[in-house]
Subunit: 331 residues, 2 copies
């Protein structure tokens, strides 16, 4: 069963991460508690699932993939901790964010520790592989961090600008979100023995899927409810984020609606009623469009793998399921 | 001349770092400017000098050492940017700190980018070496980041505690400062072809030198003047840092002096006069002791290399000079 396949991967990844974050030396227990906080709060483990499935797809070494998948999840978690500080978010996965619970200094440090621990897991996943593969996987992983940082900088720079185009948005999302997902599938394929062409196809699978994922994330951010979402609704609007939905609405809405929206966008003191009114305007003009664009990217994602013969049919089904789940999820 | 040797290494390292931080993609120019800020402000380049000299000492590949040295300097700079946020410092190398100039969010992100760029340089320094060396150097580098984060957590946890012993201090300093210096000499030796025993001697050279370095740093932090130091004087006292000097004074001072000191330590609103009075008490009880302890560690450092035959006499002289400079420096 596909569910068993997922559960096994998730359990192995959770155990690995737990192992690498145990044994806090004396005087550092807060640091390690803060670092482990978001893992214990759940999460989808989307990136390790993609990495391990991509490796299994090609019949690669499962134990290396589990370590590399744990590395990518740890890296992702580091970015969440630092992003929550930068975006002033106070809830994540239904729990207080790390900086709310331990203070900003400890949250910065916990993110830094996870950043290093991610490299520790990745390096261990590559112990004994040939030097070319070691260099290449490391390079892919490192490059994704550089690109994700650039995406976060672009996202911050977009706030407050009303001239951000859909093209700008897609470029930013590709960097901020899609690149790490693409790195997951690419590294999975490399560990699975892929040559450059096949690795490139897995990379594109992840880029397209990642864009679909972020569009759906933007949608959920204004259509879900806080209890399900586990984080504040409308925070994108409050922070003035240029999501696909906002960009589309700024282009399509009537002048009276635009006036309301512009008063609320990026206004940290906006009331809940104002946020609700603004979100109604955004939904009216952008939801249908955003869903269809996400669906288009999902479809491109899975087509990227056409022509590669799966050595493991279940892994192929897993990647297909993950792509479909990306669109259907509610949180 | 030794000065030419140093200048050549420093120039090569500066050029390498500059190259890896050029070409900011559109929308990320602030991020790259913030990341480059502290490099352009100067700095001693102590860690790359130690790394390259250690490699030269054993007759290793200079171009790999320059890349690895650039990696370690970039890593060090990332820790400075994040530490300045955590310690609320507003001056560094005579310039406003990154978070003062660009805001905290951008400073967190700039540190993260440098963290990744450091790995990029290190991985490139290892391109084509055998897989065992690649794994081992990466592991050493990663471990140092974990340990440095733990040291920073201990340092933060010590603030406000009056029961920190000299032994606690040495353990914290070993992690927070000495480990990265020891990693520099160890990686230099590994790239230079050292086996485990020789690499271990270079590691110990760095640990002892790093402890001496930090003790001198603590001394300079209350004896220098701000113009020379390039950062605020007495900030250790204001933040309540448990430096060797403070620990020694808490143990040795009379009760009237202790009363004054405890009112000022960690008091963010302390006046300049109060800080000066507290620092006089600290100097009286600890300076001589601290200098002699630093000298003892410096001497242990250079003795750690006894019995290893230098393939390059200038590199040996360079390491000796760096050790001596560590004690004599004024900033």
């Amino acid at each position: 069963m596909l569910q068993d396949y997922f559960n096994e991967v998730i359990n192995q990844v959770n155990k690995t991460i737990e192992k690498y974050l145990s044994n806090a030396p004396s005087g550092t227990s807060s640091l390690y508690e803060a670092s482990k906080h978001l893992f214990s709060a759940g999460g989808k483990r989307l990136r390790p699932l993609i990495l391990v499935s991509s490796c299994d797809f090609l019949g690669g070494d499962r134990s290396r993939a589990i370590l590399a998948g744990s590395a990518i999840e740890t890296l992702h978690t580091f970015t969440l901790i630092h992003d929550d500080i930068m975006d002033h978010d106070f809830l994540r996965r239904g729990l207080p964010t790390v900086h709310v619970k331990w203070g900003e200094s400890m949250a910065i440090l916990a993110g830094d520790l996870l950043h290093a621990k991610a490299f520790e897991m990745l390096n261990d996943s590559l112990e004994g592989v040939n030097e070319t593969l070691h260099y290449e996987v490391m390079k892919t992983f490192i490059n994704s961090i550089v690109v994700v940082s650039e995406g976060q900088a672009m996202d911050m720079q977009f706030e407050g600008r009303n001239d951000v185009t859909e093209e700008d948005y897609l470029e930013m999302v590709k960097k901020k979100t899609a690149y790490l997902i693409a790195t997951s599938s690419k590294i999975g394929s490399l560990i699975g023995g892929a040559g450059p062409d096949v690795a490139d196809k897995f990379f594109h699978f992840g880029i397209y899927l990642g864009i679909a994922f972020q569009i759906v994330d933007d949608i959920i951010g204004i259509t879900s409810d806080e209890a399900e979402l586990g984080k504040p609704l409308f925070s994108d609007i409050r922070e003035g984020k240029r999501t696909l939905l906002v960009i589309r609405t700024l282009k399509e809405a009537e002048s009276r609606e635009l006036e309301v929206l512009k008063q609320v966008l990026g206004n940290k003191n906006a009331s809940t009623d104002q946020l609700k009114e603004a979100s109604q305007i955004v939904k009216k003009h952008s939801l249908e469009y955003a869903y269809s664009l996400a669906e288009e990217y999902r479809s491109r994602a899975i087509s990227s793998l056409d022509g590669i013969q799966p050595r493991n049919q279940e892994a192929y089904e897993a990647l297909k399921f993950v792509s479909e789940f990306t669109l259907k999820r509610k949180k």
